[in-house]
Symmetry: C3
Subunit: 163 residues, 3 copies
């Protein structure tokens, strides 16, 4: 199968060799990952832990949902590169500054309104394809827990369905 | 199962008691929720309606997709706290101001370009795990419909697959 | 079934005629779409290609995941309107400017930090309901590949599970 998008500047290739198709009974799996960071904001690569969940599930074809269970934290996919993580910190502080706390109406007895906004930019969840018993990720895709209001115990949910 | 992340400042706990695993036949369910808001922008907690869909589906283990079917509206998960919702309004107006309408090229016979951008920040959809017949949400997670170009009938889709 | 949200200004209707429910064996399908754009940034409507994948899969009820496999690209849903796409370009350049490249720590031998940030705003993935063998999209929903660091071969994954 070869498909060409309209317009001379655009090409879309699709090869049959990459194509997989099949049938299976539906299985399901659930696990929680718990975190307590030492600083207010931290990015943690959780790909190995998510992979452990998949192995334990025995699921070979399906979808994996990984989401923060707290509304001031994220799960997202990006590069595991420290310079980029510093760029994220500066950029998010620019888009949704932590201080002064009084700039947000949410901050009465809370001081974490900025964390709600930062997590909105970074996203609550990722859905990852499971193929041949592996996380079907691109070469640089790594799954991160993004903490924006840390120093207390918080959870990430991993749910897998498939066969 | 105990897992410790590399680095002294990072811990990840995972308990077997939280772990669930099983098999089931695949079921599917689809429903639409319709909205007509009185103002251009509004945030509506739709968690009870999504929960009703789940009950009606009879699905106990699976994934639930809830998405806006319109491109100037969002479905997202955050806190049901009025101060925070005012913060969202101010913040989104800062990132993607509604006026002057002429600032956007999309606004020829439309005036809603800002709504397309605001919805991009807030997201189109959420995927929620279904466990034991319940929405598997963290303690403060609530599902919201985010309207950014309201005062007309618009739809949200709920699709559930699982067993 | 009629449901009314609390508050005089809010209404939520839900009709049984829209409701679908059933059972099926679980099938799965995987495909990659490859792109090479001529410019650094480009938005490409990939809805027809995603629809082709669905047809090939034979899946009638389920969930379709479509995600960028690269961390400087997006898959998102919005309107296929050229004015809006120009608005996205201007808006994203405002939120995460490409230049000067030296403003980002990621940009040592890379120059694409802005692309990581832009893709974060636009999102990595979409999940689309499959109903009656069709992409269950709203009237204006179109699926886009968003390239923010192009001029080389990059991939999008389509994974479908269902019955």
């Amino acid at each position: 199968m070869h498909a060409y998008l309209a317009g001379a500047s655009r090409q879309c290739y699709s090869w049959v060799k990459l194509h997989r198709k099949g049938k299976a009974d539906m299985k399901h799996f659930r696990e929680e990952l718990w975190f307590q960071t030492r600083s207010r904001r931290e990015l943690i690569n959780i790909t190995p832990h998510v992979r452990d969940c998949l192995t334990e599930s025995g699921i070979r074809e399906g979808l994996l949902l990984c989401n923060a269970m707290h509304i001031t934290a994220s799960v997202f996919i990006n590069d595991d590169e420290p310079g980029l993580h510093q760029d994220f910190e500066v950029w998010l502080e620019g888009l949704a500054p932590e201080k002064p706390h009084s700039r947000y109406r949410h901050n009465g007895y809370e001081d974490n309104a900025d964390a709600h906004l930062k997590r909105t930019i970074m996203g609550r969840e990722v859905v990852v394809a499971i193929t041949g018993g592996e996380l079907d990720l691109g070469p640089w895709e790594q799954i991160f827990y993004g903490e924006f209001d840390g120093m207390r115990r918080k959870r990430v949910l991993v749910k897998i369905i498939g066969g």
